[in-house]
């Protein structure tokens, strides 16, 4: 086991207790295809259709083999479209819990199964997109053999589920998952945040412990710090909890429906806890209090989505953050001492305050031109100069942007967070990256 220390980045915002609560059993679930990056969803169901657990609901037009399955048995109650006919949510009312039966493979037989069969099994089970391929973070081509697969026991969100919680009693599934990975690739890394406790059996298997600020445990950041040659750039990664889901699918032949998620945030009136819920369960099932005036962020406050209108646990998102909406404009805000401001700069006195800080979902200013202050470079976890890359993107200099490390960007959002000119660095870099990717395909 190696230790990796990453100094840049930003500290975690909220602490989540490692206590697991069982959520109220859901009456309805929703699928939110618009939150799955890159796919072009096409519906396979219509209003009123009866679904089993594991029935296909929509597929990816780019690759019709890739289907997304229903996590619940019931009737499609409604399909809500957003702007430009984006499928915002597919609402399913739970009625009869019948399983769509897939083929199952015994734990001992996994190593003897053919790779292609195994892959086909996962694709049919609708869980293939849980594998992601760096640097673009789309799901990988099934025929490709990756240079390595990174299993991240943590979550991409800083407040995501802790491995100490979701790995409990799941050790066997996890081992089965690792055997599946061994079939897919020759090399597997298992990484975990150094501050997290992992059950002993699995702790022995961890290859790298990553210490440092968010996003130190992101697979992209990790890869940037360990990679030795260019092909490694297209490594795959998967998160620990997702690997367990795949293992459950393969072992039991049933589509796994449960997932551990967390609820946290400055406006959460309950404790910040872990919950075991059905995929697609609404936030109502988890928190008892109302949250209508809050911002609800899923997938981490730094890289997630504002899901205030559709707060359903997602395919990828494992955390809910309840944040305060932007408040009223402050009188002479720019000269106040600011003991509780959330900031990395030392221009506020809050750098002396180690206690609580005001956390608010607001821009705290207006967009201005870049003044070349260099704060973004100081915090970029992969040693990019985001301001320079941003200017190259802005000027449509694709070659220059790539030369300056655009594809290494881990889309963590820390540069946008620290920018005093409020420039949307992270968003623009992420968009430029996916534009480039779409041109290549």
């Amino acid at each position: 086991m190696k230790n990796i220390n990453i100094k840049k980045g930003y500290t975690q915002v909220f602490d989540v207790e490692s206590r697991l609560e069982k959520a109220i059993s859901s009456k309805e679930v929703a699928l939110t295809p618009s939150r799955i990056p890159f796919i072009k969803p096409k519906l396979l169901v219509k209003k009123g259709d009866l679904l089993k657990i594991g029935s296909p609901v929509f597929f990816d037009k780019r690759n019709p083999e890739i289907k997304f399955l229903s996590p619940a048995g019931g009737v499609v109650k409604n399909i809500v479209f957003g702007e430009r006919r984006v499928i915002k949510k597919i609402l399913i009312v739970i009625e009869k819990e019948e399983y769509e039966q897939f083929e199952s493979i015994n734990h001992d037989k996994i190593s003897k199964t053919d790779r292609a069969d195994l892959v086909k099994h996962i694709i049919n089970g609708g869980l293939w997109p849980l594998f992601r391929e760096l640097p673009y973070r789309d799901y990988p081509n099934k025929d490709k053999i990756p240079p390595q697969i990174i299993v991240n026991l943590n979550s991409p969100e800083p407040e995501g589920p802790s491995p100490s919680v979701y790995l409990e009693n799941e050790e066997n599934n996890f081992f089965a998952g690792l055997e599946i990975l061994n079939k897919l690739s020759d090399k597997t890394f298992i990484i975990s945040d150094a501050s997290d406790e992992v059950p002993d059996q699995i702790d022995k298997l961890i290859t790298h412990k990553v210490a440092g600020n968010y996003p130190a445990n992101d697979p992209g950041t990790f890869l940037y710090h360990i990679k030795k040659n260019i092909p490694e750039n297209s490594s795959w990664y998967i998160f620990g909890q997702d690997l367990i889901m795949i293992a459950k699918l393969v072992l039991s032949g049933k589509y796994p429906t449960d997932k551990v998620v967390t609820v946290s945030g400055s406006m959460n009136k309950d404790d910040n806890l872990h919950y075991r819920v059905r995929v697609g369960a609404p936030l109502n099932d988890l928190v008892k209090h109302t949250y209508d005036d809050f911002k609800i962020i899923q997938g981490g406050v730094f890289r997630g989505y504002d899901t205030s209108d559709t707060p359903y646990s997602g395919y990828f998102e494992n955390s809910f953050n309840l944040l305060k909406k932007e408040g009223e404009d402050a009188l002479f805000g720019f000269v106040m001492p600011g003991f509780k401001k959330n900031t990395v700069s030392k221009t506020f006195f809050s750098f002396l305050n180690t206690g609580t800080r005001e956390i608010e979902c607001s821009l705290n200013g207006e967009e201005r031109a870049c003044v070349n202050c260099g704060t973004c470079s100081k915090f970029c976890p992969v040693d990019m100069f985001p301001n320079i890359t941003y200017k190259a993107v802005y000027a449509d200099e694709v070659e220059e942007a790539i030369f300056s490390g655009l594809l290494d960007c881990v889309e963590c959002g820390v540069c946008s967070f620290v920018c005093p000119s409020k420039i949307e660095l992270a968003k623009d870099l992420k968009n430029a990256k996916s534009e480039y990717y779409k041109e290549q395909v």
């Binding site: 915002v13 640097p135 260019i230 911002k295 962020i297 406050v301 730094f302 890289r303 504002d306 953050n321 944040l323 932007e326 408040g327 009223e328 404009d329 402050a330 009188l331 002479f332 720019f334 600011g338 401001k341 959330n342 900031t343 700069s345 030392k346 221009t347 506020f348 809050s350 956390i359 608010e360 979902c361 607001s362 821009l363 705290n364 200013g365 207006e366 201005r368 031109a369 870049c370 003044v371 070349n372 202050c373 260099g374 320079i388 790539i402 300056s404 490390g405 594809l407 290494d408 959002g413 820390v414 946008s416 967070f417 620290v418 005093p420 000119s421 409020k422 949307e424 992270a426 968003k427």
Partner: protein
């Protein structure tokens, strides 16, 4: 507070689209955001943003300039009253200083902001905060006897040519305040240099002459003992350090520049690399000059070099302007070092311009993008390609 909020709310309709003063919306917006810092809505990830914004950024520079401003006001009045045998008490000097300095500050801000508003209205963008600093830096680097017309012409040149024609704050190549001063220096040499401009004498009286430390050295011969001449002229090291001698309004006190620099470094607004690099550059170059060359300036010790002229002020407040200085760390060291180096070179070898720091900083401003370019090429070239 509620009253203010309502006032802005009720008048907003005149400045928005279709209103009477639609074109002046940038002015309304700037006034409103000056009083009420906008919170702003986040439209994309990340859903947390740092509390710092550009107004805060700039007001820290202003904060670190306040001690220099207050001392500058006092010192200007004190020197003027001392020369004309008037009241040299604290209040008397301060009041006199206010009558000299305040009009300059008002002219600087009002003329400069007028230009900013004109450009913002034409370009339909918001008024940037950069001028808050420029407008205060500029009067502090003027000699007290400058006329208000000249000051207005200077700041107009600085804002238009130094900044706005490049696209406004964030896109300028040169430091606007220094551009303005350099313009005055070449357009009105007799009002900007010589021995008679450093003490305010009013319009009716003959000019009062007083040699600055730099001109004393420039007029000295090789055999003179500079320290002795300084002492005779009342310019002991202590006086030079604390700054109570005639000179530009705000740049005489090296001590207060040091305090201001400390604030900038602690808050991270000014780069310590530039400041320390500049001091190292000045000290080493002046040491080498005094060792290898036989010129009057060779008798000036490195410490005296550090204290005389506008070097302390320039390296702390002018060279650290993030827009016109390099953004990369090593470049900042080189940039600072070369400013120190060039300051001494200009002082020592160019008797026509004894004040070297202004030109040194402007010269290095031009090279800042090149330094950045070279450093990013080298650093990015070491990255493992990702395609």
């Amino acid at each position: 507070m509620k009253f203010m909020r309502d006032l802005f709310k009720s008048n907003e309709k005149f400045f928005t689209k279709g209103g009477m003063f639609e074109k002046l919306h940038p002015l309304f917006d700037a006034t409103k955001t000056f009083f009420f810092l906008p919170k702003g809505k986040i439209r994309s990830f990340p859903f947390l943003r740092d509390s710092i914004e550009l107004k805060r950024f700039m007001s820290i520079v202003i904060l670190s300039l306040i001690p220099l401003l207050i001392f500058g006001i006092y010192n200007t009045g004190y020197q003027a009253n001392l020369a004309s045998d008037s009241d040299i008490s604290l209040q008397g000097a301060f009041f006199k200083g206010l009558t000299i300095t305040l009009p300059l500050i008002i002219v600087s801000y009002s003329v400069g902001f007028t230009w900013e508003i004109i450009f913002s209205v034409i370009r339909k963008h918001k008024i940037s905060e950069g001028f808050l600093v420029t407008g205060l830096l500029y009067p502090l680097i003027l000699p007290p006897s400058i006329s208000l017309i000249q000051a207005a012409v200077g700041i107009s040149f600085g804002v238009i040519i130094g900044k706005e024609i490049f696209g406004g704050t964030g896109r300028n190549i040169l430091n606007p305040a220094l551009t303005a001063r350099a313009f005055l220096f070449f357009a009105y040499p007799s009002s900007m240099s010589g021995d008679s401009v450093w003490i305010f004498s009013g319009s009716n009286v003959d000019a009062i002459t007083s040699a600055t430390p730099l001109s004393i050295v420039a007029n000295a011969t090789i055999s003179d003992n500079i320290s002795m001449i300084f002492n005779q002229a009342g310019l002991s090291l202590k006086t030079l350090f604390f700054g109570s001698y005639p000179g530009c309004i705000g740049e005489t006190s090296a001590f207060l520049c040091f305090i201001g620099g400390l604030i900038l470094i602690i808050t991270g607004i000014g780069s310590f690399r530039t400041i320390i690099g500049g001091i190292i550059g000045l000290l080493t170059t002046s040491f080498l000059v005094s060792y290898f060359f036989k010129v009057p300036f060779a008798n000036v010790t490195p410490i005296q070099h550090l204290l005389i002229g506008g070097f302390a002020f320039g390296i702390v407040f002018m060279a650290t302007d993030p827009v016109s200085s390099p953004g990369m760390n090593i470049s900042r060291w080189i940039y600072g070092f070369l400013i120190g180096f060039l300051t001494v070179v200009i002082r020592v070898f160019n008797p026509a311009y004894p004040e070297g720091v202004m030109l040194a900083i402007l010269f290095m401003n031009i090279f800042a993008p090149l330094l950045d370019y070279v450093e990013t090429r080298i650093k990015l070239g070491k990255r493992m390609p990702n395609v």
